[in-house]
Assembly symmetry: D3
Homo-oligomer: 254 residues x 6
Amino acid sequence: MVEITDMLGNRSITRQDGRKVDELRPVRITRHFTDAPEGSVLIECGNTRVMCTATFTPTVPRWRKDSGLGWVTAEYAMLPRATKERTDRESVKGRIGGRTHEISRLIGRCLRGVVDMKALGENQIQIDCDVLQADGGTRTASVTGAFVALVDAMRWAEANRHIKSADQVVTDYVSAVSVGVINGTPMLDLPYVEDSQAMTDMNVAMTGHGAFIELQGTAEHRPFTRAELGVLLDLAEKGNKELQAAQRAALALD
Amino acid sequence: MVEITDMLGNRSITRQDGRKVDELRPVRITRHFTDAPEGSVLIECGNTRVMCTATFTPTVPRWRKDSGLGWVTAEYAMLPRATKERTDRESVKGRIGGRTHEISRLIGRCLRGVVDMKALGENQIQIDCDVLQADGGTRTASVTGAFVALVDAMRWAEANRHIKSADQVVTDYVSAVSVGVINGTPMLDLPYVEDSQAMTDMNVAMTGHGAFIELQGTAEHRPFTRAELGVLLDLAEKGNKELQAAQRAALALD
Amino acid sequence: MVEITDMLGNRSITRQDGRKVDELRPVRITRHFTDAPEGSVLIECGNTRVMCTATFTPTVPRWRKDSGLGWVTAEYAMLPRATKERTDRESVKGRIGGRTHEISRLIGRCLRGVVDMKALGENQIQIDCDVLQADGGTRTASVTGAFVALVDAMRWAEANRHIKSADQVVTDYVSAVSVGVINGTPMLDLPYVEDSQAMTDMNVAMTGHGAFIELQGTAEHRPFTRAELGVLLDLAEKGNKELQAAQRAALALD
Amino acid sequence: MVEITDMLGNRSITRQDGRKVDELRPVRITRHFTDAPEGSVLIECGNTRVMCTATFTPTVPRWRKDSGLGWVTAEYAMLPRATKERTDRESVKGRIGGRTHEISRLIGRCLRGVVDMKALGENQIQIDCDVLQADGGTRTASVTGAFVALVDAMRWAEANRHIKSADQVVTDYVSAVSVGVINGTPMLDLPYVEDSQAMTDMNVAMTGHGAFIELQGTAEHRPFTRAELGVLLDLAEKGNKELQAAQRAALALD
Amino acid sequence: MVEITDMLGNRSITRQDGRKVDELRPVRITRHFTDAPEGSVLIECGNTRVMCTATFTPTVPRWRKDSGLGWVTAEYAMLPRATKERTDRESVKGRIGGRTHEISRLIGRCLRGVVDMKALGENQIQIDCDVLQADGGTRTASVTGAFVALVDAMRWAEANRHIKSADQVVTDYVSAVSVGVINGTPMLDLPYVEDSQAMTDMNVAMTGHGAFIELQGTAEHRPFTRAELGVLLDLAEKGNKELQAAQRAALALD
Amino acid sequence: MVEITDMLGNRSITRQDGRKVDELRPVRITRHFTDAPEGSVLIECGNTRVMCTATFTPTVPRWRKDSGLGWVTAEYAMLPRATKERTDRESVKGRIGGRTHEISRLIGRCLRGVVDMKALGENQIQIDCDVLQADGGTRTASVTGAFVALVDAMRWAEANRHIKSADQVVTDYVSAVSVGVINGTPMLDLPYVEDSQAMTDMNVAMTGHGAFIELQGTAEHRPFTRAELGVLLDLAEKGNKELQAAQRAALALD
């Protein structure tokens, strides 16, 4: 346990952007960012900006027909100049890359983790997360923003009598945050500059009750120990609680 | 000429959104919309919102090497929920549709029409126009917004000594606007609701000197006469002058 | 108006191939070029040769079902050695290029502009324009030739009682021609050598009544003025009248 | 041997189109069919019409560089309405089908079989065979026509001093013909109506010296015996001799 | 006939792997290689190893519906390191190559040649041949192995009452073997080292009754005479008889 | 801690296949499974069978040139009938699915996690994992098997003097195993039948020193608590130790 205490000791370190190791970047959630979608949210985590929309369709994919159950799916993409260097469009390349696939699937699983498919009925929600500006943590910002868009779409569906109750469909909050070990120090919510130095990198999606929905830790550059894992999960828990407070505040408006 | 006068007489008609037949929708041009690109502009024409970025690369495509000349190219895309109904991503479909190709090429030609390739030198500008919200006129808004992003990228290139002078590269203003005949009445700057009723539909890109760079008139639903063409061009000229005033105002800020 | 007179004055200029500025290349329209299609036409405009077929199908695409309306669509392609340099097949590249898309769409719109979809009923016409040899103006030759193939297919459909009357379906003639400004001189019907020098380039599709169906002017290399536009349209009108005479003559044979 | 005699006895049978069992359809070979390619041939075998072009490039694919050897390759395609029913373009489908691949490869192998790659030097010939009208035997007509285009391209290359001698490069004639067993009767040169009834179907490419370059027999519908094979090869030999006479006659003109 | 005798005289030659010219490589057929498929066979011909599975589906492709007939289709692929040099996956390249297409079609035709589609009823068999290790003759090994998998799938279908009788569906044996001329000597069953030297190369699929189903001879490198063809077919007949003995032995086990 | 003890109490439960909750399926690792690759391994974990090959290339991808560093990459695929129902080939579909992408990337990261890129030098290892039979845990079996293939390839490279020392390149063992919560009971190494019931599912890749390289927990069906996480990690640790013992035993043979 000594080791962990040491790592907590690092909390006094100040980061390049002035934050403490366990401090989130400023979060801003703008609902009704565009008019057409049933849910439309712009989420800003520091300089990372993602537009998240939720599309409600009163039908399900063929393989789900006559099951009485709904479905939630997600697609993630980056605009070409979200990044320092322009990335070619996947539409132009004619194929979707592995990273895009991986993140789209992650977002879908996170949201499905808090949706009661029976209460949703044979309706589908399609989430689209398009990164306008990328400064680290785009996948976790997508999950956090998409959740708010999902709730808005469910409220719309309730108002339009497609579902009985938005609260029954969405069974809990879900948000996600990145944590990582930079030069031996565990830190919360990594911007690009830190992310690219991180030896260990973990994305943690948690519910409002503090349980895990997704845990993705990668340590290509240096394996991490179980003790380090413990500290990283503490940081993630703190971060997710704060993100959920931001979600709650945004959803309280109207 | 009688016919034309009649058509001008229609100017007293009020449209669904309260505008006169020769009135533009409100235009808003936000420069430096995102941080990474050399030029980044959000243009809003009524409810149509397009994010236009200009990427500067100090190199040209292979076929252009050793020519001493630069190149300007453009790509256009719609986010899935820019529209009332969600459109599938072209990256997911694995191919770019005809409409996307057509518009991307149009934007590229318009901008090349006001760029001195020699003054640009062996550098490339890649324009990306991504429609966040679509309410008619997305291709013309893209041209108008992309021009501002192009100028910003050229100023950046001048400041970074990639080119001698932005003013030498960009030889004139260019903007574009749609005009069309709705129920026999020529109108300026059509929103979606009018566009879908239009029997004739024309996109007109003009320079600051009032000359044409692109003229694309389509009359699938009812051919148009030369007299009607005259009125439509009058409207387009008026519209483009006002759009260029907006561009000028935006570029005057710093 | 002085400027225009000047431009008309240029009519005395002789071109590389000996034509006057307002003279079409020799046009030859061969009907029943192949046996299988309902309409099959070889059109030759100078050295440009396009095979145009019209396929009649007594059904419509899904989105058109139960509308009582028909549909006309078109596809354009070049054989690999239609051109001086061999162009790779789009089937081999696995994707259709922007130019092909753009032209296919143009042809479809032009023909739909003279078809009464109600009179056509729930039947579809698929136009295929395959360029055997390219010497400029392949897209306009395609429109002009495809119109004749379309009429033949309609006559076939009338004879086979799929439609009541070919004349009711095809409401007017349509043809197309290119015009352009070469070294300051407006000219009609540009072969490749002129087309590649043109500073302004316009494709004009007109009906038998002299109205416009498509107008596509591009001035990447030098914007054109409204006065120039007037002269170009005069030339296009003259050209289209002559092309329609050729269509009429071909269709009068049996 | 009795069995074979019987089969030869069938030579008195008259076919739907009036031919004898060992009679070719009328062959017509038109050289210089289009202007741009180094070799351009229209071959007509009955109602089957294929446009064959040969493109000369003074370079070889990367894998062949610095070998001192040339290369010959071929691509085959059908225009959409070459057939009774329209076939979708492979460019539109985004992929080349198995049949197209198979035939393209066959044509390439047949021509390479009579080309001396050393004499060709580091130059490439690309053969394009595009079927304008299909009535059976399109792949064999392609081989026969492509050979003539190849010779023309070699003569062009000799005249333009890319190669020393066309005769040294092309070491022999090559032509191909189909044979098959229809209702138990072996027949030469099958049109579509016979081809679709054939129980056995064989394509035979032979040199001017009567040796085989390709032999492709398929008997999905009824296996064939060695005796039948003998008769089919006799027919193919006769057919190929006559096709080579037609090639020789066409190449003798100038 | 002298020439043939000479060629037979070559039978005393010993090959690199110690075989006689008319000797097969050791064949091993392992049934029930994996558990899931209705038929699953590993065939080993020398160092060539192919996994062949047969999938039974109680339905047919759409174009075959209500015909009362079944269908058999096949797909062939190589694992990336089946070969000395790694070959890129066709899934990664996004397209299937010509060779793969050609072989898949060959396997399908061979098996359909011994299947009574009426007895099969409206059921489909999908054959998958995946090459684990390639040392020449992968396509012929695929045919030979796939036949055994097909019989196993038919026995399964009989046991599960999808068809009346496996014996009625599979009307005869089918196997395939390669033959070729190496340095003037005809040889049976070529491993990679011989195959790459072969001037003539032939794949011969034969039924249990000694008739041909497929005959594919290629002589890109040196045309072959009819006398040579005779010797090659003798070798192929001998090889196929022995392969069918191996199939019979494998199928006799249970 | 009480809760964990309870969960450990579940260890007395017997599973469908007779295993205890913390018991691995039988593991079999066959080296030199095929001849061509530098490393070729068949790994069997219960009924799951994966063929893993490692290809050594004395060069690196372009983006890695002149860095002095090597690269390791991986591709995963399933044969069509690895599963109960046949899955269409991704080569035929023309695109790689999200799941395939996700797993390929996971395998690559795991192996890179134990490779010293400097010691590898500018050489590349391409790992191919092809699932012959799938019964749960194919991705973890792939990691475990691929490690052995990687070591064999490094030994080959050392013997062939491409690298100095295999031991310097491969810095530690790595294996992976799945764990999950089935009906509230945490279990080790899930076969398909358990995997499909699992509410929580985690893949854990660990080094020989017991540190984590990848941790991927998904709880679409029921979020998991931190206490549950602890038990799952205990199980994974036990499983990975045993898998590494199997790797060690296999690598000790020669």
